[in-house]
Each structure stands twice: as C-alpha cells, then as structure tokens.
C-alpha cells in the first residue's frame, strides 16, 4: 500500500501524539521474514510480464496480491530462472530495478511499497503550470512553490503561471499563499501541474490534539481553542503565555507586570476555586509542567491547544477543573531525508510605556510647607508654638541660599532605561522514513525597563523519534532550560523600587557630590520615611534567581493490531532553583543597613508514567477513537534556606555568606512529596461524519486527600451534530459548515498543600532562657474526609461558516459550578485553630466564548480578515461555610482584608469604606463628632463592598492584512467591567509629607476654596498623623483598550530565496503595547496588575507596579 498523501501538519501532529494507527492496511514488513517467505520454490520466467511472475509466486506461496497499478510496472518483462530458493529471494529478484519493496500482511496479502533509493544522479526535470483560486477560478500571482525538502522553488507570475526545475519527477511540490491552505502535490511524473488553492480553514479537517491522542476537529465534541505556530510566530516573544494572549476566547491572561519574568495569571472561563489554585494544567508534549511555563522557550512551540469544557478536560480528571493547556513542541522533520536548518531571531527595544505624575522638587516642598501651615489645625499647638519648617540645616547641600531646591530628580526617569533584548534560536531538523531528529538551541537576553532587571535563558532541546519496525515506534525528547534572572520585587507593600521611584524625595540627587548614593536621611530638615534610594536599590541589590530545568519524556508505542496501539511513556521534570538575595550595607542609609544575604535552594522532581491503549476504526461511515489507560505520578520537593546579616563590606555578597557575623533567622529546610494514581478512558464515535459522541472518564487517587476519600471519579459526555451534512442544510448555499456541540461533565481540583487532611505537629525554636529551645505546636485539625473540589460544567457550542467562509464563527455558552470548594473554613477559634481545610461552599461561572472571523477583502493582491473574540463571564459565590459566613481572604493591608467572599458576590470583590468626599466647613460640628476636621475624608462608618477586580468582558479585535508579500497585524485587546483598587493612593495621595507622592495631593487637595474634592487637605504626616483607609476613592474603573500588537512582516519571494539557497525568509517589525486607553482617574502605570500575586482574590489590587514597556521588535525567521 502506498499511504495516502497527508498534509504535513496532520502527519506531524499525529506523529507527535503517537496515537495514530495504520488503519488503511495491515502490514508486516520484510524485515521480519515470516515463515511463508521461507518456503522454498522453483521459478522459471522467460520474457514474462511482472504481473505474471508475481501472480505465479503468490499462488505458489499462498499469498493474495495487493497493489496499485500506478506503482508497480506490471507490464515490465522479465526473465528469471531459480531453483529451490526462498520465496523471499524470488520476490526480491522479481522486483529488482523497480524501486519497490514488499511486505506480507497478517492475512497474507502481499503488498508493495516504494523503496528508499540511494541518491540518483541529479537530472533536473521541468514542471510548469497555473495556480488559481478554487472558488473564483481567478489566477493567483505570487504563490510560492517549493520542492519539498529542498530550497528549490519559485513563485507564480502576474498571470498565475510558474515554471521550475525539480530534481526528479517523483518529488512533491508545496504551494503556499497567505490566506489559503498550503497544498502538497506529488509530481508523479507529470510536467504540467495546475493547482487550485482552497481558502484557509475548512472547518473539520484539521487535527486537534486532545490529550492522549488527536482527533479530527469535526469529531470533537468539546470546546477547544487552538493557536498555531504561525500565529505564535507573528509576535516574537520571550514568553509563551504572552503570545497566547487574546488568541483564544475564554482564556484570560493577566500580564500583571512589565518585568522580564513577571508572572502571568491565566484564568480560563473564570475563577472556579478560592483556595486550591486557579491556574490551568499545563501539559507539554504529554508531560505535566507544574512550574516554569513562563520560562519555557517559546520558539520551540509548534502549537497550543486550550481545553475548556468538560468533554475536553475530563480526560485530565482531577486536575482539569481550571482548563488544560496542551503545548506541543517542535520535533524532527518528517518530510524527507534532507536536513533543514532554521534560525529565528529578534532584537527589541523597550521603554516605559507610561509614567505616574510624581511631584517635582518644587511641588514636593510646597506640600511640606502647607503641611507645616496646617499642623495647628490637627494638633494641640499652643499659640506661638506652632511648628516651623526650618530648612537651614540643608542649606548649601540641598537648597540654595534662597531656599530653592538644588536638585529636581525624576526618579522614574533615573531608575528606568531603554531595555535592549535579543533572542536567538537555531533549529536543526532532519528525518526520513524510519527516524527523525530535531535539535534546538536558544539563547535569550531579556532586559527589563527597570535598571538591572533582566532574564537570560539558554536552552537546548533534542528530539529523536524512530519507527524501526512497522509495529514499533519509540522516541525521546529532552529539554534543558537554564535561566538566570535578577528580579525586582513585585509583591507586598514595602519600600520597593516600584514604589520609591514615585515616592523618594525629588530634592535628593541620585548621588551626592561626594559620589555616594543619596540616602533619605541626607535630608536633615525634613522627616522622611526610611526608604532606600531607588537607583541604589536597583543597581546594588541582588535578587538573583537561577533555574535549571530538565524536562522530557521517552515513549514506546506498539502496534498490536492494525487498529490497536499500546503506548507507554515516562516523563520527568526536574527543577533546581536557587535564590540569592543580597542587600548592601548602606542600602537604606549607612546607619540602618548592615548588609544581609539570604540563600535558598530547592529541588523539585516530578515523574509520571502513563500507559494506554488506543483503538481506531474508520469504515467510512463509522469512526471510532478510543483510549484506555493508567497513570502514576509523584512530585518530590526539598529546600534549604539560610539568612545572614552584618557583613564587613559589600564584597562577598552571597558568594561567601560566612563573612557575615550574624545568622538572620534560623537555617531552615523542608521536604514533602505527593503522589497520584489514575485510570482513564475515552471513547468517541462518529457516524456518517455527522453525529458524534464522546464519553470520557478518569478516576484519580491523590495522596493529598483524607484517607476516606482518596479516589475521585470524573466523567463527561459530549455530543456533536454537523448539521451542514444534512440534506436540508447542505442545500442552503450560504451555509458552508454548521455544527452544534453540547457537553456535560465533571472535573476536579487537587491543588492544595500536602498533609492538609492530617493533624501534624510542626516544630521550630523559641527564645527561652537566653537561647533557642525547641518548640512545637499542632498545625491543624485532622479532616479524614477531605476530598476534591468538583466542577460540573455544561457547554453548548456552535460553529458556523457562511458565504464561502467569508464569515465564520464559533460561540459557546457555558455554566460551570464548583462544589465542595477546598476552603479554609472558619471554625470557632476556641478549638485552638481558626480554620480547617474542608469541602464547603460553591462558586459558579457562566458566560460566553465567542470568536468570529470575517474575510473582508480577498483578492490575489490584497487580503484582509478581522477576528473578534471575547469572553463574557459572570462569577458568583454560591455558598460558603456552614452559616454562609463572610470570609476575608486578604490581601490584608490597610484597613484589613481588601476583599471579601460573600454569597451572591463574585470572587475578587473589594471591601472597604465608602468615601463620601471630604468634610466641608459647614459640617465642622458633625465632623468634630466623628473626631474629624473639615478637609478630612468623610467615610462610611462600616466597611462595605466597593468594587470588583475580575472583568466581566475580555477580548480582542485582530485585523490582518496581506498585500503581496507583506502582512500586517493590528491586535487590539479590551477589558470591560472590572475595577482597580489603587492601593498606592494610600501613600501617594492620602498621606502627605512623609514621602513624595502624586501631584493631585497638591493641586486637587481640599482647601477652603476647593471644598468639593475627595482629596484630603494637606496634612503633614510626621507632625499631624494621617487619615487613610482603603475606601472608594481608591477604586477606579478598570476597563481599558490596549494596542497590544502592531506588526508588519515580509515574506521573501520563493524565486529570490531559491537564488539564495533558502527555503524561507521572513522579517518582521512589531510594536507591542503601543497604547492603553483607560479611565482618566486611573493614576497608576497600567490598568492591569496585582501586588499580591499569591492570592487569587487580588486581581487589580496593587500598590505600585513594575511599569510595562512599550516594545519595538525586529525579527527574522530563516530556513534553509
């Protein structure tokens, strides 16, 4: 049998997933000489045809003949005389010179296949033809034509005609044109080949990676979003998740930082969990990658699939509730025996996209002055004893004789830079009939816009796949990823650079005339908060994080019968992490800093073993795809940490921590592991290409649950109906494709800490009697019934292509309800514990995923398509603990927990006081009753719900244009229906004079002439204290529109490339984060962020941010 020519993408995907089964014929290769072939025969042919000879042998040996005439030159005449030789030998003799080999199937069919031939002498054959649009019949100029596996190629001319010289008429031509499906056409001896090209995306024919296999998209009943390599390549990126942003409806990627390694928070179809983690499950080439997806080399990624509904995710059972992201990376080339080499590189320039309106030196001093003036209003100063601002101690150093500041430092400017980054990847891919190889090397240097923040990555990946026998294939894939990083703290509410770049006194220079960094207490005449100089902190502090990740797997697949394959694979993820912090000896000031170092090492080792059977059957009207398997997993962790302080100087840093004189905190170590054991099954059946059903289930056991509830069962069912195959719809011209899907199922969430069901005793030390003595305390109440969170999800979806695919859209409605939330249920503290981890409460998410693509203009010269995608999601806490009592899950900061969990409200609900403006002079008496004076904030007496952090609408609007060899992308993203808690207003606006702040505290502050303002009267914090609470004044509309990406690409003409010996050359220029339109009252750097990344309730709550860059990138993709 000669295999049907598969589209290369299909072939590659099915190869990767290894779920493919050779179901078109049952074959055994000649490599294992079967008993029948060992029979001894005698033959005698004289100028007989090949057909005669083969029939003769077949009859003698008891074979049935199977062949395709085109391949076997049946009429060829041969003469042959052999006595008492094996059938095997006879057949080889007969086929001599035909380029064919043979095989015998289990049911004794003799089949013929093309044989790998040694290199022939190069004799070029000329091929020519015309390329047209399949639907309109118009000729297409500029279509690239490439001889597969070579750099030989050309392009069609203005009249759509081409001519090229191929090495052989057995080669295959690849026709590609933007907006159209790439076609591979075997020459098969022809010299004239006319091709008509189909528009891209004929729904249903693509193959989709579904976890433990692939399926035809038309057979899929679940909701799965896909991002292809081409889409990923449009935007050269340092981070795989960033490229996924806005590409799949229902997948919200919150990029909460502009730092090179800033965390991305990924939420698929809303937060379904409060305590157990909301990140999706990442599966990279079949292996779970729990950490490190953001450090992965994105150039390696072939495609990403996002599994959203239960029909799709149930195969991952207890870990599927937050959705699953399947990442498929590049492998060897299956195209030909040739070697192809690719280079992908980019160079980018980033700058801070926006600045906060920090006060300058003059404004800063004005606030100080007014603060002194106002001091008697707040405190009980006897007349004549009012405090006076006396700047004489700083005259000559910070002020001139007239009292004007000598320096006016813009710290945002000083601490930021133009970041220059570059990224390189070299790939080598080769392959042939029996094996393929891929090797990839990557180096990335990614600079942040804050001084001294950077990430470097060197990674290597090797892939080898082999099919030594028709019944056996095996392979391995090993990735080494090393990253180095200097990180800027982005969490919490401390004196970090992201804060001090706004708040450090502008009257100080970066360095004093002595050359030393300025310190806050170089200001003698003012009382300033003890803050480190931001430039010094950025440059002199180490926050180094090194990671070494070994990640890979090996598999072995056995073809048991033509329809049944067994596959076993072993995956491993081993990460060594080292954190080294060093704070120099005079960071805050020479007096208060002693130099401190903290070093932490940890190692995480994960392994998984998965074994499964795949059964495929396709009889034309019946298609069956079934999977049955079992899996074991274990994750082991250990760490060591130690801190020291009091260094004699800044030489040793973390290189010799024994140079310090004091231990800072006790050395510590920890260790844990968890295990899982699972059984899973999936069966899908499609009848007549029209009716599909998928049943999926997984039974998971986890060590992390109570001894009474180790195992959980997660089933789902999905149905699909391709209505456009029904007569009554296929008659409607406008409808090209219509499919309706529905699914229901249950998935789980297990992402909690270890030992949570056990009562254990934790140990440490306490001070007692002058030294450390051991101390121990029970950690929690035992809960042997602890079990999974369970998410039940319903999904109804529709796919529709209209008007010859001018419009295609896909819409899904979902409702998912998570029950048995793993919640720290508050219990009476009289038990000795505040909470117990228990299965209580539920949360629901419902919404719509929508994606629509229109092909607005489609001419041979110009192509324009628009894609609108959005997700609307409504999150609601349905129930909480026993009494549905409110839970205050933090982040805990000014005024206590900034969020509340309350039944009926969504996760991420802000909680605080209401600010009704400021007390005006008419209300002086009323204000006094409340202990206030006019000009102070007027607030509600109780805290209440004051905003919502998670957006209701997120989406993107992407326009693509192709003009000749150019392509343009304009990617606009939007968020609507969220709010921001601007925590930085606490110190930047509500509290004055202790630090610098934003200009509104001066220009819009309450004065007797400006009473209608929410901004309080200037009050000198060190003299008069402060009045600041988390309140509605901090809340602002979080909706925004972002110019996420504008890019232009140029694909070189195949004709030119051929001259240069290249297969592909593309250059791109792109502008990322070009603009952000947000509410005018938003005062921060970027309307998306959190300072409390570890807390799932904290989206859009931040105390300053690492500013996001606006990045200009030049990229190149090269293949030869």
């Amino acid at each position: 049998a000669v295999y049907a020519q598969a589209d290369s993408k299909q072939e590659q995907k099915s190869f990767i997933s290894q779920a493919s089964v050779f179901n078109d014929s049952d074959i055994r290769t000649t490599n294992t000489v079967s008993e029948t072939l060992k029979q001894v025969v005698t033959v005698n042919y004289h100028n007989h045809t090949l057909r005669y000879a083969l029939q003769d042998v077949a009859q003698k040996a008891g074979f049935k003949l199977s062949y395709i005439d085109q391949k076997v030159p049946m009429e060829k005449r041969i003469s042959l005389s052999l006595e008492n030789v094996t059938v095997n030998k006879v057949l080889w003799k007969i086929l001599e010179g035909t380029g064919l080999r043979f095989a015998v199937s289990p049911n004794n069919h003799l089949v013929f296949m093309e044989r790998m031939m040694p290199k022939k002498e190069v004799k070029l054959e000329s091929v020519s033809g015309t390329v047209t649009d399949a639907s309109s019949g118009e000729t297409l100029p500029g279509v690239n034509i490439l001889v597969k596996g070579t750099s030989t190629g050309t392009s069609t001319d203005a009249s759509g005609e081409y001519e090229l010289n191929a090495p052989s008429l057995q080669d295959t031509l690849v026709f590609s044109f933007i907006g159209y499906q790439t076609q591979e056409v075997p020459i098969q001896g022809r010299s004239q080949i006319d091709v008509s090209m189909q528009l891209q995306t004929v729904s249903g024919d693509e193959l989709v990676v579904t976890g433990y296999g692939v399926q035809k998209k038309s057979d899929v009943t679940g909701s799965i979003g896909m991002v292809s390599a081409e889409e990923l390549q449009e935007q050269p990126s340092f981070n795989a998740l960033k490229s996924l942003r806005g590409k799949v409806a229902g997948v919200n990627i919150f990029t909460n930082s502009g730092s090179p390694t800033g965390s991305n928070r990924v939420v698929i179809r809303g937060s379904g969990s409060i305590n157990a983690g909301t990140q999706p499950l990442y599966v990279v080439d079949g292996v779970v990658m729990q950490d490190g997806i953001e450090y992965m080399n994105p150039n390696n990624i072939e495609s990403m699939e996002v599994l959203k509904d239960a029909s799709a995710t149930a195969i991952y059972g207890s870990r599927g509730a937050n959705g699953v992201i399947l990442v498929t990376t590049k492998r060897g080339d299956t195209a030909s025996g040739d070697v192809s080499v690719t280079y992908d590189g980019s160079f980018s320039v980033g700058q801070m996209a926006s600045k906060m309106d920090a006060m300058n030196a003059e404004e800063f001093m004005e606030v100080q002055r007014i603060g002194y003036e106002n001091a008697p209003l707040f405190d009980d100063y006897a007349p004549g004893e009012e405090p006076q601002l006396d700047i004489t101690p700083d005259m000559g150093t910070l002020f001139d004789d007239a009292g004007n500041p000598l320096y006016d430092t813009d710290w945002q400017e000083e601490v930021s830079r133009t970041a220059l980054s570059h990224d390189h990847q070299i790939g080598v891919q080769s392959g042939g009939e029996k094996s393929s190889f891929g090797g990839f090397l990557n180096y990335t240097n990614n600079e942040g816009v804050i001084l001294n923040s950077w990430m470097r990555r060197a990674s290597a990946k090797i892939v080898y796949d082999a099919s030594p026998k028709e019944w056996l294939s095996l392979g391995t894939n090993l990735r080494v990823n090393r990253t180095w990083e200097n990180n800027i703290e982005e969490g919490g509410g401390g004196q970090e650079v992201r804060r001090t770049m706004v708040e450090f006194a502008p009257i100080l220079p970066v360095r004093m005339p002595s050359g030393d960094y300025s310190h806050f207490n170089d200001v003698k005449s003012l009382t300033l908060e003890g803050q480190p100089n931001p430039v010094q902190r950025a440059l002199e502090e180490d926050r180094l994080r090194d990671r070494l990740q070994l990640f890979g797997n090996a598999y072995l697949a056995l073809q048991i019968t033509p329809n049944l394959e067994f596959r076993t694979q072993f995956g491993v993820d081993n990460t060594n992490y080292e954190l080294r912090n060093y704070q120099p000896t005079d960071l805050e000031s020479p007096a208060t800093s002693v130099g401190s170092a903290y070093v932490e090492n940890s190692e995480t080792t994960y392994w998984q073993n998965e074994n499964y059977l795949t059964y495929l059957q396709d009889t034309g009207s019946h298609r069956i795809n079934a999977v049955l398997g079992a899996s074991w997993q274990q994750r082991m962790y250990r760490d060591n940490a130690v801190g020291v302080r009091n260094f004699p100087n800044d030489f040793y840093r973390t290189n010799s921590i024994d140079a310090a004189t004091e231990v800072d905190g006790f050395p510590a170590s920890g260790s844990w592991d968890w295990t899982m054991n699972s059984f899973f099954a999936r069966g899908s059946y499609t009848f007549d290409d029209t009716y599909s059903v998928t049943l999926t289930s997984r039974m998971d056991g986890s060590s992390r649950f109570g001894k009474n509830n180790k195992y959980g069962f997660f089933p789902s069912v999905g149905v699909g109906w391709t209505a456009s195959n029904e007569g009554f719809i296929s008659n409607i011209d406008a409808i090209d494709h219509l499919k309706v899907r529905g699914s229901v199922g249950r998935t789980g969430n297990t992402e909690i800490g270890v030992y949570q069901s056990l009562s254990t005793i934790g140990s440490g030390t306490v001070l007692l009697g002058g030294g450390r003595q051991n101390s121990s305390a029970p950690q929690r109440l035992a809960n042997p019934d602890l079990e999974w969170e369970k998410t039940t999800q319903y999904n109804i979806g529709m796919e529709l292509d209209l008007f010859n695919q001018v419009v295609s859209f896909e819409a899904d409605y979902y409702y998912k309800k998570t029950d048995d939330l793993l919640l720290d249920r508050p219990i009476p503290s009289t038990t000795g514990f505040d909470v117990v981890l228990d299965n209580v409460g539920s949360v629901s998410n419902q919404g719509v995923d929508f994606i629509m693509t229109t092909r607005n203009v489609q001419t041979p010269d110009f192509f324009w398509s628009s894609t609108l995608n959005f997700n609307y999601n409504k999150n609601r806490v349905e129930s909480l603990g026993k009494e549905d009592e409110d839970i205050f899950p933090g982040p805990n900061w000014v005024s206590g927990s900034q969020t509340i969990l309350r039944v009926g409200e969504p996760i991420g609900t802000f909680y605080g006081f209401k600010r009704m403006g400021t007390w005006n002079t008419d209300e002086a008496a009323e204000a006094a009753d409340a202990g206030r004076i006019p000009g102070e904030a007027k607030r509600s007496s109780d805290r209440q719900i004051i905003g919502y952090g998670m957006p209701e609408w997120t989406g993107s609007f992407i326009n693509k244009f192709n003009f000749k060899n150019f392509d343009f992308t304009a990617d606009i993203q939007f968020v609507y229906g969220s709010e921001i808690m601007q925590e930085f207003l606490h110190t930047a606006e509500d509290r004055q004079a202790l630090t610098n702040g934003i200009a509104t505290q001066l220009y819009e502050a309450w004065t007797e002439d400006n009473q209608n303002t929410p901004i309080q009267r200037i009050r000198h914090q060190p003299l008069s204290g402060q009045n600041t609470q988390a309140d509605t004044h901090w809340i602002v509309d979080g909706s925004y529109i972002r110019g996420n990406l504008f890019s232009i690409g140029y694909n070189f003409n195949q004709q030119a490339l051929t001259n240069w010996g290249l297969q592909r050359l593309r250059i791109t220029a792109s502008l990322e984060n070009a603009f952000v339109i947000h509410h005018p009252d938003f005062k921060g750097h970027d309307p998306e962020g959190t300072s409390w990344g570890g807390n799932p309730n904290s989206q859009n709550i931040f105390f300053y941010q690492y500013p996001k860059p606006r990045t200009f990138t030049l990229g190149v993709n090269l293949r030869f």
């Binding site: 004893e385 207490n521 003698k524 009382t527 908060e529 007096a591 208060t592 074991w632 170590s669 260790s671 844990w672 968890w674 295990t675 054991n677 056991g701 986890s702 060590s703 992390r704 270890v754 030992y755 056990l758 254990t760 005793i761 140990s763 306490v766 001070l767 007692l768 009697g769 002058g770 003595q773 051991n774 101390s775 121990s776 305390a777 029970p778 950690q779 109440l781 035992a782 508050p826 219990i827 009476p828 503290s829 009289t830 038990t831 000795g832 505040d834 117990v836 009494e883 009592e885 409110d886 205050f888 805990n892 206590g896 202990g931 007496s941 805290r943 509290r991 914090q1021 204290g1025 402060q1026």
Partner: protein, 507 residues
C-alpha cells in the same frame, strides 16, 4: 496501590508520634511563652502599638501617633469599639489566647502518661502549661467577660461550638490551675530571670493574687477574694526572694533607669524575654516621636505609639516624684551629637535602648509583666480591704512610694498614710498603681475592676480624684457606658459559633 497514596509527612510529625517524643511535648510547653498572652501580645512592631496597649487607649490616657493608619487606637479613644470594625484586631487576641489554651490542654492531657521525663520535669511542665492556661483565661475573662471554658484538647470536627461559661466558673478554673502549679508544680523559687526565665513560684502566686484582686472588684464583686489576694501576695513577699531595685548614686542610675537597662534583678517577677539575635524587642522604635530625627537613628521610622497625654503626666507631682522627671519612666527630649531634640510631648523612656536605636535596630530588653512593686501594691490594697489599714499594708505602699519620692523621708510618707480610712488608703494605692505601673498596662484593668475613673488636675499636679467611670467622659470627650467595660467578641467568632452571644451594647 493504597500504599502509593498514603501520605507520610517528612518535615512535620504526626500527632500520634507526639506521645513517644518528650522533646515534642516539652516543645509544646516552650511555645506557650511566646504566644497568646505572651510575646506577641506585648511586642510593638508597627503603627498599631502592641495589643496590650489597647487598654491604655481605652482609658483615654494614652495616644498613638500611628492611629490614623491602624484604627484600634482611634476607635478606642472615640469609644467606638465595634465587633466588626475591630474584628480582625480582637480576633487576633481571641484566637491567639485560645491557641495557647488548646496547646496547654494538649500538654496537660498527654504529658501525665508520657515516658521519658523525670517526675520533677513532668510536674514542672504541667505546672507551666497550667500557668499559661490560667494566664490566658484570665486575660479573656477580664476583657470579654463570660467565655467558653475548654479544658480538653479538641481533636475532631465534632462539638466545636461551645457556648460561653459564667465568669465565676472560668475564674474557678484559673484558680485551680494556679493552685495546682503552686502546690504540685515543683516550680523554682528564685526570681524569674534567675530561674532561666521559666515560670516561678513567685510568678504563679503573683498571678493568683492579681486574679483574686480582679475577682473582688467589678463585675463579680466577690469581695471575699481580697483575703485570698492578700494571702497570695503576702506569700510572695514572705518568701523573701524578691525585692525592689534600689537607686544608685545619680538620677541616671535611679531604680527606674536600672529597670530600663538591666534584665536581671529581684524585682522581676514575670515578663516577656527578648534577645536581639533570636527575638528582638521592637519597643525602642516607639520611644521617639516620628518627627524627631536625631542623626544616626537606626529605625527607618519611629513613632510615639504609647504617648502619655498631659492628663496622665499630671498624676505625678513633679516636685517630689522622681518618676516624672525627664528620662526616668518617660522622656521629652533626646541629646545627640551635642544637639538637643525637644519632643514637645512625652514618650516612654522605660523601653528606650540606646544601642537598638542608634546601632542595631534590634531591641533586647525584656518587658516586665509583673514586678515586685505590683505585688506590694496588691498586698497593700487587699490587706486594707480584708484586714483593715494595718501597718503591714501601710509598709507595702510606703515601700513603693518611698522609692519614687526620692528626696522625701519615709517617715513623712508613712505619717501621711497613717490614720486614713480604708477607702482613702485604697485610693492612695490606686494612685500609686497609676503612677508606678504606668508602663505595665494596668490602667484599664483598674478602671474595669474599680469602675472609677482617675481625674487629674493641671493646677494640682499629683492630685488624683476618682469618679464613677460610667457616665464619665474620657480625655477625648467621649462618655463611658457600662458596656464599654467589656470588649466585643469579634464578629468572626460570633459568625462561626452560633452558640455565642455578643456582649450587651455591641449588637
């Protein structure tokens, strides 16, 4: 495959293993020293002041510069204490105390049957566990009134909603625990620091005396407990292990400065131990107003978190009382590099540590919860109430006052006390408690049990009269009602335990 999924912790031990490990059991007791009513309650890390300072703010005599940011100080002065606004704050108290009680209960349940201890050690650990259970229940019953009384460890999720138990029953349990500790506990006799900072006979007896004194007053008014208080205090005095620290040659070496700079003396009955390297004391940070920045100050930010307002300072007669002179209990200026920085207000000096403030940023002095001076004052009051104004009672009060009136003859002090009626004498003791124990956080407990509000006079400094607290206004113009004398039970606790009822006045 069941074994594959069995969880066996590696960096924590299971509760079952506790029984086989004397170390873990003694660790269970060691931890009690730091938690609940322990170090956490007394340590002042930031803007809010230490938890124990809440009473000072409630009394209206102390102010916190950081109150705009951590509201407990503000709402206490405003008498707007509320179970919701201060939910987190009081929940910290409540759950911290019950955490220690639960751990003490675990120790008391399991230690008697454990091997690996000497008999003495076993009894001592049990006595310490009972001391801390008593200490934490005393704090709860004093501040919240009736509270759930739990004396067995809770080990499952059943029967966890316990209703409030009458105060008298809680007090009985406290007294039982302390008597057990005193009689069976094999506790050391020396003062606390000489006993390696472990609970002593003196500490247990002093706590017992304090408990009886509180019971004798409001709200129980069980006046028969004055005699018990007298007995307990007298037993400490008669043991002869403790004494008042005496003045040195100069005012810089006064007894008060010695208490400030040293930790090891016979006046130390019970307290919170600190050490710069292991557990540092943050109180030096709160001894200088934030606006004062003498050169070389080693805290990024200081604040006067427990500022005695003028009305408090007027309780002292500056002509005779050493305690109110600059740099004794309080200070109002600091000298640095030849320059004087005037505060314009008073700040605690007792917690001022030169080295911490200007060199290390890490305080190391202990905080004294009970001093021998308080034992003498409890004895004086309790004896006067139960036995009359005896010479013994007069002696004890005179001991404390004589040290403060450093240039006044003891005979003159005694003479003034002679012939006072019981009520007059007891009020003199109250005055002395106000002055002597200013930084020992007694002012609110005294107001709670006496229901008398001290009123000072700018024109007659040192004069204090006592007026009914209910209906009286504090120094911030807010009027006390009876319900203010107990704190609200935190909202969280009410929500999670339907068996609890809120204190009156807070609904």
């Amino acid at each position: 495959c069941q074994d594959f999924l069995t969880e066996s912790p590696k960096d924590q031990i299971s509760t079952d293993q506790l029984l086989g490990s004397p170390d873990a059991a003694s660790g269970l007791v060691n931890g009690l020293y730091r938690d609940g009513q322990g170090a956490g309650f007394y340590n002042s890390g930031g803007f809010g002041g230490a938890d124990v300072m809440m009473g000072g703010y409630m009394s209206g005599f102390f102010d916190n510069e950081g109150k705009g940011e951590r509201i407990q100080g503000q709402v206490a002065q405003d008498l707007q204490v509320d179970p919701e606004i201060l939910n987190q704050f009081f929940d910290g108290w409540w759950s911290g105390h019950y955490d220690v009680i639960a751990r003490a209960n675990t120790a008391i349940k399991y230690i008697p049957d454990m091997n690996g201890f000497s008999e003495d050690e076993r009894q001592r650990l049990l006595a310490e566990a009972r001391f801390f259970r008593a200490l934490n229940y005393f704090s709860l019953v004093k501040f919240f009134g009736d509270v759930p009384l739990i004396t067995e460890p809770i080990e499952g999720l059943t029967n966890i909603e316990v209703a409030r138990t009458g105060s008298d029953a809680v007090y009985s349990q406290i007294i039982n625990d302390l008597n057990w500790a005193i009689n069976e506990g094999n506790l050391g006799a020396q003062p606390f620091p000489m006993n390696n900072y472990r609970i002593t006979q003196g500490a247990a007896r002093t706590l017992l005396a304090d408990v009886h004194l509180q019971m004798a007053g409001y709200p129980l008014q069980a006046s028969e407990h004055y005699a018990d208080a007298a007995d307990a205090a007298r037993s400490v005095i008669q043991a002869g292990q403790h004494a008042l620290v005496e003045h040195g040659e100069t005012v810089e070496e006064s007894a008060y400065n010695k208490l400030r700079t040293s930790d090891v003396d016979p006046e130390f009955v019970y307290g919170i131990e600190y050490n710069p390297e292991i557990a540092s004391n943050d109180n030096p940070r709160i001894t200088i107003p934030g606006v004062i920045r003498p050169p070389g100050i080693n805290y990024g930010r200081t604040l006067n978190a427990y500022r005695p307002i003028q009305e408090y300072i007027w309780a002292y007669d500056p002509d005779v009382d050493l305690r109110v002179q600059n740099k004794q209990l309080f200070h109002n200026s600091i000298e640095r590099e030849g320059q004087t920085f005037e505060f314009g207000e008073w700040a605690p000096y007792l917690w001022f540590e030169e080295e911490a403030i200007f060199e290390t940023g890490l305080g190391g002095r202990d905080i004294r919860v009970y001093r021998y001076a308080e034992v003498l004052l409890i004895a004086a009051e309790a004896i006067a109430r139960s036995e009359g104004v005896t010479q013994e009672a007069i002696t004890y009060l005179a001991d404390v006052r004589d040290r403060a009136y450093w240039q006044t003859d003891r005979s003159a002090i005694v003479a003034e006390l002679n012939g006072l009626s019981e009520q007059e004498f007891v009020e003199e003791v109250w005055k002395e408690r106000l002055r002597e124990l200013a930084l020992n956080f007694k002012v609110w407990s005294d107001i709670q049990r006496t229901r008398q509000y001290p009123v000072t006079d700018e024109d007659n400094k040192g004069e204090i009269i006592f007026e009914d607290v209910i209906g009286h206004s504090n120094n911030w113009g807010q009027t006390y009602e009876e319900y203010h004398l107990l704190y609200p039970i935190p909202d969280d606790e009410i929500q999670t335990n339907p068996a609890l009822e809120q204190n009156p006045g807070y609904n």
